[in-house]
């Protein structure tokens, strides 16, 4: 096999792994925003998920347990945001920022002792018999860990829920016109709490996958802005889970390419390579926004607006 072939496979395999870190939070945020709640705390909740994922795996050597606990930790932290934004009708942008600062602070505070430690056991690579023998695709998509296989189904299921089920109709109704949805008998508060919590779980999952699968060590601020990339990809995906996966793999490819170039000892400084995914995300978001405007696809109309049921 020519070596360029091997490099390509390594690159794409890493791209899928890196993309998986982003795909969960992006889909979570799509649903949270669809319900009318903006959560800019993804970065913080991912850090919390990443930390708990690492912590649990570090002490139990069970990355699956780590992944689950990290996911739950992300979900629980989102309840702070839900309470402030839904019950107390606080400003969603500011509350989300507070969550991101909180996540960075709390994981620095408790994680400092563990900094630079590595995990002994990580999510195991389980090649799928048969499928993994397909050239290139088999290695890239079907010689991965179980969380990645889960993510393939997950994207489809979430797309199905959003567009083909009653729950999907409800969440979209709440996000497009809360008063009308309320008149239809949908409980706005419950819907928003549920999908905000759901978004938190998935942010936690993304973070936990980062430390139990993609980068099995602990560093201060290990998510390095991936939470913000996820927020950006929500716009890119036009609030559609099936487009989100393209965006996530696109970012994953950039991220992997950047690492690959560094590893092969290119003359381009690593700092400029590290800048590259953020710069390209910015350009993509600009293009996506312009397309959205031309095609009149708007943000969920209730996004960022609190709902208050007046007592009669």
């Amino acid at each position: 096999m020519p070596s360029s072939h091997i490099i390509l496979i390594t690159l794409l395999t890493a791209a899928v792994r890196s993309g998986t870190v982003i795909i969960f939070p992006t889909i979570g945020e799509i649903f949270t925003e669809r319900s009318g709640v903006m959560n800019l705390g993804i970065e913080g909740m991912m850090l919390i998920g990443a930390f708990f994922g690492f912590l649990v795996t570090f002490y139990t050597n069970n990355p699956y347990l780590g992944f689950i606990i990290g996911t739950i930790a992300g979900g629980l932290s989102s309840l702070i945001h839900a309470y402030i934004c839904i019950t107390l009708q606080g400003n969603q942008v500011v509350s989300g920022l507070a969550m991101s600062i909180f996540g960075a602070g709390i994981t620095n505070f408790y994680g400092n002792r563990l900094a630079n430690n590595q995990l002994k056991t990580t999510l195991k690579i389980i090649p799928i018999p048969g499928l993994s023998d397909i050239p290139i695709i088999g290695k890239v998509f079907f010689s991965q860990d179980i969380i990645i296989y889960l993510s393939y189904f997950f994207v489809f299921i979430m797309w199905f829920i959003l567009f083909k089920t009653k729950a999907g109709v409800h969440v979209r109704a709440v996000g497009e016109n809360a008063q009308a949805a309320n008149a239809m008998g949908i409980n706005i508060y419950k819907t928003r709490y549920f999908w905000t919590f759901f978004g938190g779980l998935l942010a936690g999952a993304g973070g936990a996958y980062l430390t139990t699968g993609y980068a099995p060590f602990w560093l201060d601020g290990i998510t390095a802005g991936r939470g913000w990339i996820a927020v950006a990809l929500v716009i890119f995906s036009m609030w559609n889970p099936s487009i989100a996966i393209i965006g996530a793999y696109l970012f994953g490819s950039l991220d992997a390419l950047q690492f690959q170039l560094q590893a092969t000892g290119t003359t381009i400084p690593s700092s400029l390579l590290a800048m590259f995914p953020y710069l390209l995300t910015l350009i993509i978001i600009i293009i996506a926004t312009v397309i959205l405007r031309v095609r009149h696809i708007g943000v969920p109309k209730e996004l960022g607006k609190p709902f208050f049921k007046e007592e009669k």
Binding site: F109, N112, G225, M275
Partner: protein, 355 residues
Amino acid sequence: MIKIEKREEITTKLRIIVPIISVFAGLIIGAVAILFAKVNPLIVYKSIILGAFGSRYAITETLVFTTPLILLSVGLIMAYKMFFWNIGAFGQFILGAIFSSYFAIYGSPDLPRFFMISIMMFASLAGGALWALIPAFLKAYWDVNEVISTLLLNYIAFNFLRYLMYGPWRDPTSHGFPLSKTFPINAQLPRIIPNSRVNLGLIFGIVAAIIVWFIIKKTKFGYRISVIGGNPIAARYAGINVSRDIIIGMLISGALAGLAGMVQVSGVLHLLQIEINPYYGYTAIIIAWLSNLNPIAAILVSFLFGAMISGGYLIQLTLQVPFGIISVIQSSILFVLIGSVFLLRYKVSFVKRRS
């Protein structure tokens, strides 16, 4: 049962009490977090206070940390008044530092100090403004979400700084450390308290706060941006050129963040390095909201937060308590503050259930 009514008006008393309660609540949440780490929070808080005010040196260091926070938060207030979500103060701060450092590193050390400092100030204002104008134009003309654009620009700015520090601007005699050469005397912002790092930047901050207060309260532009902040669509119908005002507002906002960057490198560090403090840009967001978007109040709140940072470094040094606890306290303050807005807007009272 609990009865909730809309408040007719928000009293000044409430406006002052709520932030104060938020600070205390944040400190309590921080104490709980410290307890979980099996450390006595009273010892930690005592050390923070000592680190902030315990000696002449401590007080001057608190003022050093206060200085960039004033400039950054006052700049952010300008943006937040128009509800432009500038999260990019960190990146604008870095650009200001880079632009001004260029002249300090490559300029002639023989230029008169006043002249050199003026050039550096102008460069930092331009650098910060440039970095703020990108998201402002993107927002004004293409409606690109500014939260995302300003944030991504932070990462781009930071990696650009890393590039300079590991590459062309690194001092060959720094033994591989990512530092520039030390600025010559003419590129050092004068210090205003002897034997301390307190510099002229503190005065810049206070003057900037007064100017921004004046702009917001007393000028037509200030009135227009508060209309834009209230309802941009209504503002457009009222004949306000929203795009132009957003661009002008962000120009000021970014310029002040850039100036903060210059103050940090020219007044405090006397060189450019990677660690020019990533916390400031985000801390300033909290300060802006805690001061209720009032530039004068921001001076006091910046002092409080400067004290926390100063104390935070001491506990890290003496008690090995990680600095992150300061972010936990600050974000908790913000959570409580934002949550309390409900209490400002609605009156919650307990009434007996009628049976």
